[in-house]
């Protein structure tokens, strides 16, 4: 290809890039920062957001202290949180039987109306028995409590089979379903119980803060279609990054 041709091609390419860039509104960093500074946020609202997080996640002491230090009122009675947290903690520590008892003390309807939750709690109980090496007990428990549930529900049966597979391997770390033994599985179950209790108390089961972060990601994606402007790409730093035009 002659140099001239290459040059013309390059110009044409540049032209294309230009028209692509100019079809979107370009907002400079300075302009964007001005818009950011013009936003009015009430401190009160941000406090409420933080309190909502503390309360929904169940951090009672932190919520109490926050009420005292900031004057923000928690949206639900802190006493109900203590009960809920006791259940959550029990599951996190692997004391599932204890957790089930506590949930029923709190509100027997929760487990009655939540067969999936109940199954997951029983499953966690089985996992703990296996973890402790109480194989005979585990098998008995699986047969008596979990197998009947599995018969009623295909999904439960699959979960049950996965869990029992843990027994096959002497060294659990080689088992393909070893993530069931992971602490994160306890946390998952704990989270499920937490959500069910909150729902039964007519409280939203999720804190608002994560949805706002998702909204931010979504909003930036939407705006990208129409404008070029500084982004926040890393939520953990909140740093404004200039658009890569």
């Amino acid at each position: 290809m002659s140099l001239f041709r290459i040059f013309v091609n390059q110009l044409e390419e540049d032209d294309e890039d230009m028209s692509q860039a100019t079809s979107k509104k370009v907002i400079t960093r300075e302009e964007w920062e001005k818009k950011l500074n013009a936003v009015k946020l009430r401190k009160e609202d941000m406090n409420t957001l933080v309190m909502n997080f503390l309360v929904t996640e169940g951090y009672v002491e932190a919520a109490e202290k926050f009420q005292r230090e900031s004057g923000t009122k928690p949206e639900i009675d802190l006493a109900t949180i203590t009960d809920r947290m006791a259940v959550k903690k029990a599951v996190q520590n692997g004391n599932v039987e204890d957790a089930i008892e506590k949930v029923n003390d709190l509100n027997p309807e929760i487990l009655d109306t939540n067969p999936e939750l109940f199954f997951h709690l029983q499953q966690q109980r089985l996992i703990e028995l296996i973890r402790q090496g109480r194989t005979e007990e585990a098998l008995e428990f699986a047969q008596e409590e979990l197998a009947p549930r599995g018969e009623e529900n295909q999904a439960f049966l699959e979960e049950l089979e996965k869990t029992v597979a843990l027994l096959v391997f002497e060294d659990a770390s080689t088992c393909p379903v070893k993530e069931l033994l992971d602490i994160s599985h306890r946390l998952k179950t704990a989270s499920e119980v937490n959500a069910a209790i909150l729902t039964s108390q007519s409280h939203e089961k999720d804190p608002k803060l994560p949805s706002l972060l998702k909204m931010l990601i979504w909003a930036q994606n939407q705006l990208d279609e129409k404008a070029v402007y500084p982004h926040i790409n890393d939520l953990s730093t909140g740093q404004l990054e200039d658009p890569s035009v």
Binding site: N37, A38, T48, L49, A62, E69, H203, L209, L235
Partner: protein, 453 residues
């Protein structure tokens, strides 16, 4: 951060409608009745309450349509707009139509026939989008039917309903403010309009909720690592000096936050230093109790550099708050004396002058808390001062990272809000925007109805 940030907050943020400036739903005009003065009403007679119309023409051709617009255009700074008509009498030919037109519409023709108009016609159930030829759309409608027309600013669509059921949507091809429009075109045709003064047959609230939920489904597919939220809350508590809360929070989350990536944890620690955390907490406590004298004394002790310039913003706000505290306990003479000694020197500076005037206005009222400047006595004023002192102390930190004017949470919220506003302005000013305040208000309202329901 510019100097006037806290001054602005001190002056305005305790007002009841602060940060509601984005609540344009209340500010925007909305249709309330039929328009009787724009010269379109040659072939109709409009009822005295301006909510009904009846055809009076002869219906000999296509230019004697009895078409009427609403008095105001549909508001657009919201998710959607909706109105309904009730066909009282479909008359001889049943040529009722409902739709939207612009303010340049001045011809006695059916909505939808002219360009930049849209109409759903009862006679044939077709939708007309600026052409004489209509497209199949929904059922025909006649006497006794309630037909609704709406605009969804999010999806940029028109939608129509018949007797409470959505019958179809079509792309909104018209720009600019749109007027709800009704038409009648045969003897005895009579229609009543409902701009929201009566309950709608269609569950408009439910429709809006389900539209908002569509977004929710996308969100449910995203996941945010729990570390991020914990980090943001921790940074918030550190930034504002909520020391006790922070310690309780750290304790509670120690076992939960599994350091997925050790480096990430370190990063967070490096950014969130706890410079003067204990001092800042003490200051917040003192100011929160209204003990300004103690706060000033401690400031002189621990951070003399901040009070060296006695015309600094921090000094001003503390003195103002002291003045307010004196008014609060009714020590008016002392307040005046204090004002003369400490506040007079600020009068020359315009930024401060307005606030001083507002504060002094408190003296005039027997019951200042009930006056128009009563909001200065709100607890939130103390909080503004505490935040200002907090920021001032942070500014003395050798670590430049501490001097960021906002907590990371606030930075993200600002980006979200600004992004939403920009999107709306690029969408011809149409649609809903994110407002933290609205979100939190809606949540508490929803909970209230849930409990009684």
């Amino acid at each position: 951060m510019n100097n006037s940030y806290f001054l602005h907050k001190f002056r305005h943020s305790s007002k009841p409608y602060y940060a509601m400036e984005d609540d344009e739903e209340g500010e925007e005009e909305s249709p309330t009745e039929l328009n009787t003065i724009n010269g379109l009403t040659n072939f109709v007679i409009i009822s005295p309450d301006k909510l009904s119309l009846k055809y009076t023409g002869v219906a000999q051709h296509g230019h004697d349509v009895g078409v009427v617009q609403s008095n105001k255009p549909a508001p657009c700074k919201r998710l959607a707009y909706y109105f309904e008509i009730y066909v009282k009498d479909a008359g001889v030919k049943g040529r009722v139509a409902i739709g939207f037109t612009t303010d340049s519409f001045r011809i006695a023709r059916q909505p939808g026939w002219e360009v930049n108009t849209c109409g759903y016609h009862g006679e044939d159930g077709l939708i007309y989008l600026g052409k004489r030829q209509g497209e199949a759309f929904g059922p025909t409608y006649t006497t006794g039917d309630t037909v609704g027309g709406g605009i969804n600013y999010d999806s940029q669509e028109f939608f129509f309903t018949v007797n409470g059921t959505l019958v179809g949507t079509v792309s909104k091809y018209i720009k600019g403010p749109l007027f709800p429009t009704v038409a009648v075109h045969s003897q005895n045709e009579e229609v009543t309009v409902n701009f929201g003064q009566e309950k709608f047959a269609f569950d408009f609230k439910g429709y809006q909720a389900s539209e908002r939920n569509k977004q929710q489904i996308e969100f449910d597919m995203m996941s945010i690592p729990p570390n991020i939220c914990h980090g943001l809350v921790k940074n918030y508590l550190l930034h504002y000096g909520y020391e006790d809360t922070l310690h309780a929070f750290d304790l509670a989350t120690k076992s939960i936050v599994c350091p997925i990536n050790g480096a990430v944890e370190d990063n967070i620690d490096v950014q969130d230093t706890s410079y003067a955390l204990h001092e800042r907490k003490i200051f917040r406590q003192l100011i929160g109790k209204g003990d300004i004298d103690a706060a000033l004394a401690k400031l002189r002790d621990c951070y003399p550099q901040l009070v060296q310039n006695d015309k600094s913003e921090v000094c001003f706000l503390l003195h103002c708050q002291k003045f307010i505290e004196l008014v609060r306990i009714g020590a008016l003479e002392e307040a005046v004396k204090y004002g003369r000694v400490e506040l007079a020197k600020f009068i020359g500076l315009t930024a401060f002058k307005d606030i001083i005037e507002d504060c002094f206005a408190l003296l005039v009222y027997e019951r200042p808390q009930e006056s128009t400047v009563g909001y200065f006595l709100a607890e939130s004023q103390r909080e503004v001062v505490a935040d200002a002192v907090n920021a001032a102390i942070l500014s003395t930190s050798p670590n430049t990272k501490d001097q960021s004017s906002h907590s990371r949470l606030e930075t993200l919220l600002r980006q979200l809000t600004a992004g939403g506003l920009e999107m709306r302005s690029l969408n011809d000013g149409q649609g809903e925007v994110f407002s933290l305040h609205q979100l939190l208000m809606n949540n508490s309202n929803r909970k209230r109805t849930k409990k009684t329901g």
